[in-house]
């Protein structure tokens, strides 16, 4: 008797796509695509003896930004417009004409950049307990934008490319030359918070 070769019947895989569709819809429903975006900040560390950390900063080195409980913005001792805040912060931090009423500069040797004049200015942000979070984020956003633009200008000056196109080392050097010095004032006095 001649033996017939047995062939394995093909597996019916038509339901496979149904199963995978089911999985797909499950993941679509349970997951959220929206990525986490926001303004990153660093809080100053808590210290038990706040008196020791209080460093006297000269008046011309402080840029006071104040938001009161009615969400009114004050800077330079008067009510200010949020649209002007960025340019004012940029002027304060860069001090292009070396005016005496704007922050002092300190010569610092930074690798890749050489001798750079680093501004000693500190932006002091103060808000009331009744300030709305929305305005707070807008102000933080404007200040962040000011620092970002200054860094971009520095990068274009020194490395002939925008900040985002620089290498990691170059970005670090620019970060040192244009430090992000936004200090959130404690309820009493102005402390050097070292906010990054």
């Amino acid at each position: 008797m001649a033996r017939k070769k047995k062939s394995v019947p093909a597996l019916n895989s038509s339901s496979m796509s149904d199963i995978s569709f089911l999985l797909l819809t499950f993941f679509l429903l349970t997951s959220s695509i929206n990525t986490d975006k926001g303004i990153p900040r660093r809080l100053p560390p808590m210290n038990d003896k706040p008196k020791e950390n209080t460093i006297k900063i000269h008046e011309n080195n402080i840029f006071q930004v104040l938001v009161d409980k009615n969400d009114r913005l004050f800077f330079d001792g008067a009510v200010g417009d949020i649209a002007l805040l960025k340019d004012r912060a940029k002027e304060f931090l860069s001090n292009p004409q070396n005016l005496p009423n704007l922050p002092d500069k300190k010569q610092v040797n930074i690798p890749l950049l050489g001798e750079v004049m680093v501004s000693q200015g500190v932006i002091s942000l103060q808000n009331d307990r009744g300030t709305s979070y929305d305005i707070y984020v807008q102000v933080q956003n404007e200040l962040e934008a000011a620092i970002k633009e200054l860094r971009d200008e520095m990068a274009k000056n020194k490395f002939y490319r925008s900040y985002s196109d620089c290498t990691h080392e170059q970005q670090e050097a620019v970060d040192k030359a244009v430090p992000s010095t936004i200090s959130e004032a404690e309820p009493v006095g102005v402390k050097e918070g070292g906010k990054k």
Binding site: T35, D36, G38, R41, L43, Y133, Y136, E144
Partner: protein, 155 residues
């Protein structure tokens, strides 16, 4: 003479659907990679402020969330601003324990990189946010992020 016409009825051959599942699986993996699981149902109002200078977080596994806003269920929790940690409405004093438990879930090397994202409603007053920030400072969770939506640059 040979017959040229086939007597059998002509049938449209069945479409081969074996690759269909491959395609769907590909979709599935794509969505699994780009999305993050919704880890908890949000029980407070969340209407994020808009900002233009926002950054993406690189590693989602290193983020813990604090939701702040007025409760959706006003009958149960009232209308005052509340904090939500994980899946429940919590108090300020619970934040320290929450940060501790978040840390315990991560390995030693990752703990320093742990970021706390504050998901605040627009209408929240800064007093509440400041209290939370003080709690975070006490707990030593210094890396924070103010969650915000994308806004176009106005100028």
């Amino acid at each position: 003479m040979a017959k040229f016409t086939n007597k059998e009825e002509r049938k449209v051959p069945g479409m081969n659907t074996s690759s269909m599942s491959d395609i769907i699986f590909m979709f599935l993996f794509f969505f699994m990679v780009i999305s993050n699981m919704r880890e908890s149902t949000v029980m407070v109002h969340q209407n994020m402020p808009k900002a233009s200078e926002i950054q993406k977080l690189e590693q989602k596994s290193l983020v813990s969330y604090i939701y702040i806003g007025t409760p959706l269920d006003a009958k149960k929790y009232g209308i005052a601003t509340r904090i939500q940690l994980n899946d429940q409405i919590a108090d300020l004093s619970d934040i320290a324990a929450f940060i501790e438990s978040e840390r315990a879930q991560r390995s030693e090397s990752e703990r320093a990189l742990l970021t706390t994202t504050l998901k605040c409603d627009k209408e929240v007053k800064m007093g509440d946010v400041t209290d939370i920030k003080q709690e975070l400072r006490k707990a030593g969770a210094l890396r924070i992020m103010y969650a915000a939506g994308k806004a176009k640059k106005a100028y």
